[in-house]
């Protein structure tokens, strides 16, 4: 991966959105290249090594999906995140079928975009097969499926364990609700109710209740984040 690890390509035709994206992503520590149309994006995408490409679905000269397809034809496997004002259901399927790796519907929350970009960037990095995950004084034994803080056992339901495991694996990153629903429940929609918050709330009560400091944090309007105090 090398130099490409923190480099992003953003193909977006609306100048204001592009500028906002550049601002936000560079503040988050990425080096951002902008392309205003499909052909520019295609030439940049096929020449440089990027960690993730962010591609708008509707471009002035072509369809964002066509750009991805063309890049995949020349064996560019850089993860691609499609952003689109088009609805979520059929377009998500079509976008992913065209070689996109993730999909976000406009308008979106920047934090969620960042979370998804990080997830994609990590995906290409090496996955370490650990058997025990640790954050602060929290310990997850992935083999025994047990959780403890400062040696004290915490009882979790199997699904609650999965939720916590996914959050801990993404330690320090914001995990959007929809991503949690996708990875733990294998459901592909953004719940319109606050049910995920309630569910994670119970996990938090079990994990953070009567402890020295909280580990599970809510990021308003987006999702959750597991983080130990510095």
């Amino acid at each position: 991966m090398g130099g490409g690890r923190r480099r992003l390509l953003v193909i977006e035709d609306d100048p204001e959105t592009a500028e906002q994206l550049e601002d936000f992503l560079s503040t988050s520590g990425y080096q951002v290249d902008l392309a205003g149309n499909g052909s520019d994006g295609l030439s940049r995408g096929s020449s440089a090594d990027y960690a993730v490409m962010v591609i708008d679905r509707m471009l002035p000269d072509t369809d964002g999906l066509a750009v991805i397809r063309r890049l995949r034809e020349v064996r560019i496997v850089t993860p691609a995140l499609i952003i689109s004002a088009l609805g979520e259901i059929d377009d998500r399927v079509r976008g992913l079928r065209a070689g996109g790796d993730d999909y976000l519907v406009k308008p979106f929350v920047f934090t969620e975009l960042l979370a998804r970009i990080e997830a994609l960037a990590r995906r290409s990095a090496t996955v370490v097969r650990e058997t025990v995950l640790r954050v602060g004084d929290l310990e997850l034994d992935l083999v025994a499926r047990t959780v403890s803080r400062r040696g004290r056992n915490i009882e979790l339901l199997p699904r609650e364990f999965q939720v916590l495991e996914y959050l801990v694996r993404n330690e320090g990153q914001v995990v959007p609700r929809a991503m949690l629903l996708q990875h733990v429940w294998d459901l592909h929609f953004d719940p319109t109710t606050n049910i995920i918050d309630v569910y994670v709330g119970r996990v938090r009560r079990k994990v953070d209740g009567q402890q020295a400091y909280p580990l599970i944090h809510t990021v308003r309007g987006v999702g959750f984040c597991v983080r130990a105090p510095r």
Binding site: H188, P191, T192, I195
Partner: protein
């Protein structure tokens, strides 16, 4: 009326009718001409054969009995009424008459041989117009001239009558065809005109107009009925869209007005870190609610618009129900409610897991929020008579019967639940998902409480 006539004459039906009348007319004229000519030829042929037979008889009389015998035979024939229309004349070589019923040998035909048609004054001199005669001229071996013929005015009269009858027939056919085509076309144009008039009225004054029916139950009435029901459907849809956009406008205005008020207040006061932070947080929460509302709306209309049945897989309703119950366990606990699943082992339907999960989740969410506090919510999945049924029941206040159909409308909220959080879209989504899966929704009294039941067609049939 004259406008209708002008339209009739311009219409394509009428033009086609004219083309066919022309073709049909030509055939009829050809047929009638043939009838006429063959009748005339037959009548004339018969008369000619009779004349020729007479001629042979008379020649035989001459051959056996000579001039005297021939004269006697001719006199005999003239005296007999049977030969009334026959004309006979025997003349000397100098054309001086010997016998016969002509006053003299026709002056213009001295020396003629064979068949001749002529008008002879010598036949009936007192008639105003000399009648037409047809005769066979011959010269006997002794130089005498013999003429045997018939008056043919009768024949011509007969042929003329046939001709007149045929001409009248053709004329009558043309007139009838023209009248028929005009009236048929006019009827067609009249019905089309009714449809056109309605279309114009709709363009001018909205979808309220309908095409009038004539009660004949013919294909025109059927067309009008179909168009009317199409208009009905369009009108309903437009009314729904209008309702939805009114509601969107209303539901948008509330959070937007809140945000504006908040910003206005902040604008008027000194910057203050804590205060500004809470202002930003509140505004973001309001915006999130607005965005969530939009994504719910687009989700519902996408489910309603597209045929996604091709993406259907076999899914286990029991599994979905159990997972929803597990997911909502925490939420139920918060409300001190009991949430149970009563499920058969495997209840399979063809469907979309995401959508079914979302729909059941919405029903359970409603049951927990609007049911009795510390109440009981039961999700039940059963298989009976080949159809899969999933039901969600609570023991809360229920929904009044007269409100039950309204709850599926977008943004509709019952008075009693105005204060609970929600945007009134959940049941619209449930309804859209059910429709997509061909499932029926029933709302029943759970005495106390409410029971929603989704009945799916069996996978074998779908």
């Amino acid at each position: 009326m004259s406008v209708l006539l002008a339209k009739t004459l311009r219409s394509s039906t009428f033009k086609w009718a004219l083309i066919w009348i022309t073709i049909f007319g030509a055939v009829v004229i050809a047929l009638f001409s043939y009838v006429y000519w063959s009748t005339a030829a037959y009548v004339h042929g018969r008369s000619d054969r009779a004349i020729a037979a007479e001629q042979i008889i008379l020649q035989k009389a001459y051959a056996s009995t000579g001039r005297g015998g021939l004269i006697a035979a001719i006199e005999d024939r003239i005296a007999n009424r049977r030969f009334e229309s026959g004309i006979y004349m025997l003349a000397e070589p100098s054309f001086a008459p010997l016998a016969g019923n002509l006053k003299a040998w026709p002056s213009t035909l001295k020396g003629s041989k064979g068949w001749q048609d002529f008008a002879a004054r010598e036949w009936k001199p007192d008639a105003a117009n000399p009648p037409m005669l047809r005769a066979m001229f011959d010269t006997l071996p002794n130089g005498d001239h013999l003429l045997v013929g018939k008056e043919i005015d009768d024949l011509d009269e007969f042929a003329k009558k046939i001709k007149t009858a045929l001409l009248w027939g053709v004329a009558l056919i043309f007139v009838l065809a023209a009248v028929a085509s005009v009236s048929v076309t006019r009827r067609t144009v009249g019905r089309i005109e009714a449809i056109n008039a309605t279309s114009r009225a709709i363009m001018q004054s909205g979808l309220g107009k309908r095409i009038p029916l004539r009660g004949t139950r013919d294909e025109w009435d059927q067309l009008a009925e179909n168009l009317n029901s199409m208009l009905e459907r369009i009108e309903t849809l437009i009314a729904e869209v209008k309702q939805v956009s009114d509601n969107v406008a209303h539901d948008l205005r509330t959070p937007l007005a809140r945000m504006r008020g908040r910003l206005e207040k902040a604008c008027a006061r000194q910057r203050n870190g804590d205060y500004d932070q809470s202002l930003i947080d509140d505004s973001m929460a309001d915006l999130d609610a607005v965005l969530r509302m939009f994504s719910s709306l687009t989700r519902i209309s996408q489910i309603e618009a597209g045929d996604r049945t091709s993406a259907f897989r076999t899914v286990n309703l029991s599994e979905i129900a159990s997972e929803v119950v597990e997911l909502f366990d925490a939420a139920a606990e918060d409300e001190r409610a009991h949430l149970d699943a009563v499920v058969d082992q495997r209840v399979l339907v063809a469907g979309d897991r995401d959508l079914l999960f979302d729909a059941v989740a919405n029903l359970v969410d409603n049951a927990i929020k609007h049911g009795r506090e510390a109440g009981r919510v039961t999700v039940e999945v059963t298989q009976n008579d080949g159809s899969a049924v999933i039901s969600v029941a609570d023991d809360g206040p229920g929904i009044p019967i007269n409100e039950r159909q309204n709850v599926f409308k977008r943004f509709y909220r019952l008075e009693q639940s105005r204060r609970t959080p929600g945007n009134g879209l959940g049941l619209s989504l449930v309804a859209a998902v059910a429709r997509l899966h061909g499932a029926g929704i029933e709302m029943m009294d759970n005495a106390p409480g409410l029971k929603f039941r989704l009945r799916f067609p069996s996978p074998a049939r779908s």
